[in-house]
């Protein structure tokens, strides 16, 4: 078996949950408004226009959604609930099950 990317690094475990928000690089302008409105200050600002803010303290997120609500570019940033927090629902007529993705 051939395994690609075999560069082996000494990396610490990542904090979890590690992806409280997802950026869309095609839409995000790097304006840093979300950085300003995040009350837990989990981001580091985008270094220059066009770059994305970075998530430095993902596990401190309160999942309030303010960064998404106050972002001026719809679709640039989305809230991403931890997997263990994603709930289910059932369609009454058919009994089909769905869940938060």
């Amino acid at each position: 078996m051939q395994i690609k990317n075999t560069q082996v690094l000494r990396t610490p475990n990542a904090p979890t949950p590690g992806r409280p928000v997802l950026f869309n690089p095609d839409i995000c302008t790097g304006c840093n408004i979300c950085v300003h409105f995040c009350m837990e200050d989990i981001f580091m600002p985008a270094a220059q226009k066009g770059a994305l803010p970075t998530i430095l303290y993902p596990e401190e997120c309160w999942y309030c959604g303010n960064c998404v609500d106050d972002c001026p570019e719809p679709g640039a940033i989305a809230l991403n609930h931890p997997l263990m927090q994603r709930v289910r629902w059932k369609r009454k007529a058919t009994g089909e099950h769905f869940r938060v993705r």
């Binding site: 949950p17 200050d41 997120c61 309160w62 999942y63 309030c64 959604g65 931890p82 263990m84 009454k92």
Partner: protein
């Protein structure tokens, strides 16, 4: 969608570092904490013509428990549709807590919450159904277009569109000339001559991005820093920091006022509750029938409806009756029914709820889990008001629930949202362990003793909102903030220009910057803030949980002293953000000590305080029906407590005391 963790520029801190640099500010009034109470205090003081500075640890535009929204404007008995007077409602709310609720601040709320809401409307907030979305609904007053919740006859709780209230309040502060200083964590209070127990004349703070030290000198100081959390339960690895209120609310206001010598009460109360559990679900994002989701149909796996009962235990057959008082009842307070809700309250004021014997009936096979909240079978206006107004305006729902679930395909007209309280179907699961307790996350909790001016036992130090052992509501924070701003401004006018004690300032700088001196964790025997927070929770779980006795509480104190002496001084911070987190954990330690002192001081068990002492097993002995107070003992190492007490209803006549001060 992608994330940028991999591209993080790991090395360089993006903000200028100003450790040890001091910036000074002076004003008539300084407000500490820019949450709901804080912004309203600043507005109240500024309207009196005072020069006001507002200091906020995070970002005033959105900070605090109410920054992410508000859908219920609680206890507004002064609104024109309320059938209950402020006096009557205040007394009912106090009685419903067995007497253990701040009557002064609850009265201020009941008598002026609606006035505050009208001001909110003037600032641009939506407070009525101006778009006629709910025209003709039984919860709407068609003349005023106000919409109500819970008891549709009594009409003292309003439904409001509060998602953006905080943005508007900040704008109003700016319009009134309030100087807002964001990203500064207040660390301590300055007292006259630096003495414990003396007049409060200012505060200190540290910038959470630059590390700059700030000094605030003022004629009056208003503390609006909410209340302790993370005392029994802390985890950051499962769902993010596990608090109900924002993780940055850790009781800094309690800790610094304690250090300054102010008196506190009800610090012995804590509750078994899943609110701070790392296993809880997104708030308001699961099927249930309480609060935001009151009074949603709950059905079992086969679609069979769970019955509702009223306070007399009679099954409610008529849907509309879920929103009306029962036979012989004048009005009800909330409702919905949940097994682990703070405490059962008085039957007299109990609202309709799901049948309490659901668990037994399920075991007999009458109901089949899992259960679901079935919005599809609700009347159209009730479905639209729950999913759209309540879920949408309620804090942390606009994006996390309404938008996220909708985008994933949830349709309230077709879909039933699962409840995760499989056994009881009540919408709020039982804690996993008895040690899963909360102090300030949820429920009415202990705080700083205040008088009718909302001034503490230290002259010059005022308090409002969640800090002062009254209601735990947005409208309480608004009404008490609005009131205390005026009182503090009047006080400030008569004050001399006191000099700050240089010694006190230097000691505080040393305390604040200590974690920076401990270097990085790698290669150092230091400790990260998270590990210390978790350890403190362990102490409280083991020795200050239920039941309690003198020996357990002594061990709690021993452990806390030990950690304070040995591990806390080794806490490590290598940037201003982590410094803020480290200082927070030190304040959690202080709050834990206050809690243990109060637990030791109450030598009697008490139902309403969820307080069980094995060595004093008699429940609610009448001679202990009083408030226990504690304040820091200035002697010795200063970590002891002086214990006192207050009669259970020390506030006198509500109306005359209030009228004399507005």
């Amino acid at each position: 969608m992608s994330d940028t963790l991999e591209t993080a520029d790991a090395e360089v801190w993006p903000y200028p570092i100003r450790y040890g640099q001091v910036k000074k500010f002076e004003s008539d009034v300084v407000v500490l904490g820019g949450g709901i109470a804080g912004v309203w205090s600043a507005i109240g003081a500024a309207r009196q013509g005072a020069k006001v500075i507002l200091v906020e640890k995070t970002v005033t535009a959105r900070s605090g428990a109410g920054g992410a929204g508000c859908d219920h404007w609680q206890w507004a008995a002064d609104n024109p549709c309320s059938s209950v007077s402020p006096e009557e409602l205040t007394q009912a709310l106090i009685d419903n807590q067995g007497g253990y609720r701040n009557g002064v601040s609850t009265y201020i709320q009941c008598a002026s919450a609606y006035q505050a809401l009208l001001e909110m409307e003037q600032m641009g907030g939506k407070v009525r159904d101006v778009d006629d979305e709910f025209k003709g609904a039984p919860f709407r007053d068609d003349a005023s277009k106000l919409v109500f919740a819970y008891d549709y006859d009594a009409r003292f709780v309003l439904r409001v569109w509060g998602n953006d209230y905080k943005l508007l309040l900040r704008k109003e502060c700016r319009r009134l000339g309030v100087k807002i200083i964001d990203r500064v964590a207040v660390t301590g209070l300055l007292t006259k001559d630096g003495e414990t127990g003396a007049q409060v004349i200012g505060a200190t703070g540290v910038n959470t991005r630059t590390g700059e030290f700030n000094l605030f000198k003022a004629g009056a100081v208003i503390s609006c820093m909410s209340r302790p959390q993370r005392n029994w339960t802390f985890s950051s690895e499962m769902r993010g920091v596990s608090t109900f209120r924002p993780p940055t609310n850790v009781g800094n206001g309690h800790a610094m006022a304690w250090r300054a010598g102010a008196e506190f009460t009800m610090m012995e109360k804590s509750m078994r509750s899943p609110f701070a559990s790392p296993y809880s679900y997104p708030s308001y994002g699961v099927g249930n029938a309480i609060n935001t989701w009151f009074a949603c149909n709950i059905v079992d796996a086969n679609g069979k409806e769970v019955p509702w009962v009223d306070c007399n235990g009679e099954v409610i057959t008529n849907f509309d009756q879920r929103y009306r008082p029962a036979r012989g009842q004048k009005f009800f307070i909330m409702g919905g029914g949940s097994s682990s809700h703070p405490h059962p309250g008085l039957k007299e004021y109990a609202g309709p709820k799901l049948t309490p014997d659901l668990a037994e009936r399920m075991e007999k096979g009458e109901f089949t889990p899992p259960f679901y909240a079935d919005l599809t079978s609700m009347p159209d206006h009730e479905r639209r008001v729950i999913w759209g107004l309540n879920v949408g305006e309620e804090g942390k729902t606009r994006i996390p629930i309404l938008q996220t679930y909708s985008e994933a395909g949830f349709d309230p007209e077709q879909d039933m949202l699962q409840t995760y309280d499989f056994l009881r179907g009540s919408g709020m699961r039982e804690p996993v362990t008895p040690q899963e307790r909360t102090f300030g996350e949820q429920g009415i909790c202990g705080g700083m003793v205040v008088d009718w001016d909302l001034m503490s036992t230290l002259p010059g130090l005022f308090g409002a909102g969640d800090l002062i052992y009254g209601s735990q509501d947005h409208s309480h924070a608004a009404a008490t903030g609005r009131y205390v701003g005026r009182r503090a401004a009047l006080f400030a006018v008569s004050q001399q220009n006191e000099q700050c004690s240089q010694e006190q300032i230097e000691a505080e700088m040393e305390r604040v910057y200590a974690p920076l001196g401990n270097g990085s964790i790698n290669g150092n025997p230091g400790m990260d803030w998270k590990e210390l927070n978790a350890a403190l929770c362990r102490v409280m779980q083991n020795y200050c949980s239920e039941p309690k006795n003198a020996e357990l509480l002594d061990l709690a104190e021993t452990w806390l002293d030990d950690i304070a002496e040995n591990e806390a001084p080794k806490m490590v911070a290598d940037n201003p953000h982590k410094l803020m987190r480290a200082l927070d954990v030190l304040d959690i330690l202080t709050c834990d000590r206050m809690i243990v002192h109060a637990c030791k001081a109450r030598k009697a068990s008490n139902t309403h305080l969820h307080f069980n002492r094995l060595d004093y097993p008699e429940m609610d002995p009448p001679e202990w029906h009083k408030w226990i107070t504690i304040r820091r003992d200035g002697n010795g190492d200063g970590n002891g407590a002086t214990v006192g007490e207050m009669p259970i209803a020390p506030w006198g006549d509500f109306e005359s005391n209030y009228q004399a001060r507005i």
